[in-house]
Symmetry: C2
Subunit: 315 residues, 2 copies
């Protein structure tokens, strides 16, 4: 690989002069600058990003925190981030936190040690003190006071879930809540419950951690009491559909099931899943753009993207 030393030798000036000519910081005569740039082109010199990161104390690497990349929601978010990053000549390092604050803290430290230009976090929880103010930070699917964030309209999504089940005739609804402490799941539940209340519909709620025991206990009654089930995401809905099938409960005739996310798979499950469509790729893409704005000292107002009902066979 051609180094800055090779360029200096080729042009017959010092390494420091080549550096000034290349970066435009400090003085280099127009003639020297021209000769350096010509040599760089001729020798196919590629700036070493590690050296650049050291000089500027910001690398062109962005850190992204997700709970778990094998949850199929996140690859699409990450693809949105990564496509936009590569267009802007940035790289992405991903950390899987498994919703574990120790892992999260470790990654934050790693991002600092790598001079990351910024962080996009989909795992931020309000109690977490490990995020320092040093780096631009964008919250994704998470909201906190005084921090720029991007999410889809979870409140509206929750309302759409409830309204649709009601319109389809459900009047005894089970609302399965998502992981606790996450604003996105909290808002979905608030939107759904508010709507069920207003419309005078009977409902019960189930904490996410109780789902597996409900699905495995084989008690038909636990499900046949309901004719509508609101799920916090599509993956949960797949599990519910499987559980109902195992109990021979007909969907949508006996129970209507609605998911949230509109993952690609939701058209492949059977019955295909009615759900709330989120612009997942755009969440990632826009998060990266906001981060670039912040890093450039520009304002990056929080964004709330729109959601829409995607009607299929499960309701």
């Amino acid at each position: 690989m051609v180094t800055i030393k090779d360029l200096a030798k080729e042009v017959g000036v010092s390494v420091a002069t080549v550096s000034r000519a290349l970066t435009g910081s400090g003085y280099a005569s127009p003639d020297v600058r021209r000769r350096v740039l010509e040599a760089a082109e001729r020798l196919d010199y590629k700036p070493n990003e590690v050296a650049r990161a050291l000089n500027t104390s910001r690398s062109n690497v962005v850190g992204v925190l997700v709970p778990d990349i094998t949850n199929p929601y996140f690859p699409k978010v990450i693809r949105g981030i990564e496509d936009e990053a590569i267009r802007n000549d940035y790289r992405v390092i991903i950390g899987n936190t498994d919703n574990d604050q120790k892992k999260e803290s470790k990654y934050l430290e790693i991002f600092r040690q790598n001079n990351c230009a910024g962080i996009i976090s989909a795992t931020w929880s309000i109690e977490h003190k490990a995020y320092s103010g040093e780096r631009p930070l964008i919250l994704l699917d998470r909201v906190a006071e005084n921090l720029p964030s991007i999410e889809a309209d979870n409140l509206k999504g929750g309302r759409l879930q409830a309204m649709h089940l009601i319109e389809r005739g459900a009047d005894k609804v089970l609302v399965i809540k998502g992981h606790e402490g996450y604003s996105s799941f909290d808002d979905r539940a608030v939107g759904a419950l508010e709507t069920l209340e207003t419309q005078g519909i009977e409902y019960e709620t189930l904490a996410y951690r109780q789902l597996d025991s409900l699905l495995s206990n084989d008690k038909l009654d636990d499900f046949t009491r309901f004719n509508g089930i609101i799920c916090p995401n599509d993956v949960t809905a797949y599990k519910v559909l499987n559980g109902l099938r195992a109990l021979d409960i007909a969907v949508p005739d006996a129970v209507k099931v609605i998911g949230y996310d509109n993952l690609d798979f939701s058209e492949y499950v059977h019955p295909s899943l009615t759900t709330i469509g989120q612009p997942i790729y755009e969440l990632g893409r826009n998060a990266f753009r906001m981060l670039m704005d912040l890093a450039a000292g520009k304002p990056a107002p929080s964004q709330v993207l729109n959601v829409a009902l995607v009607r299929r066979q499960s309701t």
Copy 2:
């Protein structure tokens, strides 16, 4: 952030001395070394990885190339790589190539510019010259002469697919091939076709790029000629199941369908998918271990992991 300069000031020695004391390269008296390490501990000094990368000309970043992270096979591979990387204090940069050699070349250049310690590539194709010999390289799901690789036993997997359909009574089989030019897909097809030949079973093959037009043309005949369909991966099988459902062709009664990968979703589609189980997470994990061996100058013999039939309702 505490820098090496702060440590030098604290201890009252030069930056070069601190550096020698911390890295153990070059002379520093035992007393100075002890004082530097104590100061590092007291001030919570974290070595700057960028600076370290510059000094050693190898960073602790590993580059991983995949066709597309939103294909649900790859997040699990990446999780295996990433978990093992973090245990070894390495970071992972991911590149999505979309099977486009230009994008692939760009990422390889980026990896070099970031002084990546090595590359794991799941997109390598034999014609591609852009991989230089500079960095340790492990091929994943790809095989090439003289390069260390890791894959699951695709030949055996293809054989298992065909044998199972035959055992289930299929005697007119459609073999859908995967993307061309990839040894993993080629080997699966070879294994399946070889078995069908040996057993004297009628078959036809379909190129992957023709699948969508077959699925959208609505000609029942194109499918009812077959009573068994071998798919190159699970995602293809989901599409096929959907297509058959749209045409009201009963699975498994009229046609038996088998996939390949055993993705989590394959138990959620209906009918649930019979498939070939690959140790996907382990492929990623072992690939990283091989890369570390190579980087340490140790031998890293190619690995072929075992596969197994996972029987469900689609056959």
